[in-house]
Amino acid sequence: MAHDAWMLRLAPLAFVLLATQVAMPVAMPAANETPVRVTTDSGAYCQELVVRIAAQPNPGSDIRLLAEEGKRLCETGHVRTGIAKLRRALRATQQGS
């Protein structure tokens, strides 16, 4: 009985949630399709960013530290976090120049 009462109470909520999901559906891949993948969440891209930073003239010590931290994170398997640090370092070099 208590379960039924909860179901009754949550019915309007479920209705509204369903309505919003129907109004803006989330895309799902077809069963026989290989989904598109993001190629920049990889160790190779980490290396590419490291090379880019190294090519910048006279990066400051803070930037160097940030870049090294990013590189280390990539090497220890925390690729996305490492890439974020490297990107931040790269942005800092460009803002500095």
Binding site: P12, L13, M28, P35, V36, T39, R87
Partner: protein, 428 residues
């Protein structure tokens, strides 16, 4: 929906605006330089994308990947619509991307987009908040409606009960009123007034039925008895003929009573209001006064008329004439030989007053209240001929003209106070 449009909907519009601006800038870059400049611009954008949301894919005319961070050209991007949502794999997890396709014109194709995973999470949070708020509002609305309905039912229950009792044939119950004086009390009071009026009308109808049965039975029985007696004992044809003529006269009298009752009913129903015209009563009063003056002289009575030059009003001239004739008939009937009947008319600021006064025995206060009921005859009038319908017609005519009938003593305090009947009608 408005809340949704202003919150979760705004996130989508923000993403689309960002993509559109990025795509426009890249197209401009392609126009300004060669394809290498565009490739360089895309790589720079990806390298500086700290939020890790930007998505690009540039394909050459030979479908070769030139730049970008998408692994393949999605199936959805080959459709007709430039905007699309696609599923996206990221670190082994599925998310969603919003993309815009741009055809660069020389065989190169470009996709610009954003990973909207964060936006989707935020949208889900907002949706849940809106859903809870909507559910709470709906719950409060239902509770409020239920409370309101119960309060209405409680306040209207006495009205239902009274109406049900009346519908079942009992006209005596009335709606109990509270001291609040609100709309429901006004409704109850109006309903009570309506029931009082219905009861009064029912009583009137019952009284008229009884009166017709009682007052017409006597003349019909008398006429029948006379005809029976003539049939049994008439000695010659002349006596028989005289008895038949008497019978016809009696039946004519009964027919006149019926006609009077029907006319009163017609006037009370307002059927004659269509005949209302602007009219001047002075000439009509003068004519009637002249006619009844001669009749009064024949009975050694005096009729004194005081009629102004003009008495304008809007009404039915014939009905008003009939009412005046009834009043003068009554006055002359109850005025003794040598007495005076006075017809006085006056034009007031907002009403015309026509008063007919006599020197008769007058009418007790108790009888005045009943005067005007059909077939009502005061005890002092039992000995004079009449049907008890004359003043009923006068009252009905006055009511039809939104006027009133006032009964007063002609000589207050005298042994024979007489009666003055004043017909007061709104002037034009």
């Amino acid at each position: 929906m408005v809340l949704w449009w202003n919150t979760a909907g705004a996130l989508d519009r923000q993403v689309e605006a960002s993509i559109r601006a990025d795509a426009t800038a890249l197209v401009e870059r392609r126009r300004a330089g060669d394809i290498g400049a565009l490739v360089s611009a895309i790589e720079d954008r990806l390298a500086l994308d700290v939020a890790n949301e930007a998505l690009y894919l540039l394909l050459g005319p030979d479908n070769r990947r030139l730049a970008g961070n998408l692994s393949a050209w999605p199936v959805e991007a080959s459709g007709e619509q430039p905007w699309m949502r696609i599923p996206l794999e990221r670190d082994g997890a599925m998310t969603e991307a919003r993309l815009l396709r741009v055809d660069l014109g020389d065989g190169h194709r470009l996709l610009v987009g954003r990973d909207v995973a964060e936006k989707l999470r935020l949208r889900a949070l907002l949706s849940e908040g809106i859903a809870w708020a909507a559910s709470a509002s709906a719950g409060l609305a239902v509770l409020g409606a239920w409370l309101l309905r119960r309060a209405l039912e409680n306040r209207l229950r006495p009205v239902y009960r009274t109406a049900a009792a009346v519908a079942s044939g009992d006209l005596s119950p009335r709606v109990p009123l509270t001291e609040r004086g609100d709309e429901f009390d006004k409704l109850g009071a109006t309903m009570n007034a309506m029931l009082d009026r219905i009861a009064q009308l029912m009583e009137g109808v019952r009284g008229v039925s009884d009166a017709i049965a009682h007052d017409l039975r006597t003349p019909i029985a008398r006429a029948r008895a006379k005809l029976e007696e003539a049939q049994a004992s008439a000695e010659d044809e002349a006596a028989l003929r005289a008895a038949i003529e008497q019978g016809i006269a009696d039946l004519d009298g009964i027919a006149r009573v019926f006609q009077a009752v029907l006319r009163i009913a017609e006037v009370e129903a307002g059927a004659r209001r269509a005949a209302f015209r602007p009219t001047d009563l002075s000439p009509m009063l003068a004519d009637v006064a002249e006619l009844y003056g001669a009749s009064a002289e024949a009975h050694d009575q005096h009729l004194v008329a005081e009629i102004p030059e003009r008495l304008p009003l809007v009404g039915d001239r014939d009905l008003l004439g009939q009412a005046l004739v009834n009043l003068l008939d009554n006055a002359l009937k109850f005025t003794p030989e040598g007495g005076t009947v006075r017809l006085a008319a006056r034009l007031g600021p907002d009403a015309v007053e026509i008063a007919v006064s006599d020197d008769g025995p007058g009418m007790p206060e108790a009888d005045r209240r009943r005067a005007g009921e059909r077939f009502f005859r005061a005890d002092s009038a039992r000995s004079t001929p009449g049907s008890g319908l004359g003043l009923s017609l006068v009252r009905a005519v006055a009511a039809l003209h939104a006027g009133e009938v006032l009964l007063t003593d002609t000589h207050p305090g005298a042994e024979r106070p007489g009666l003055t009947v004043t017909l007061r009608l709104p002037s034009a």
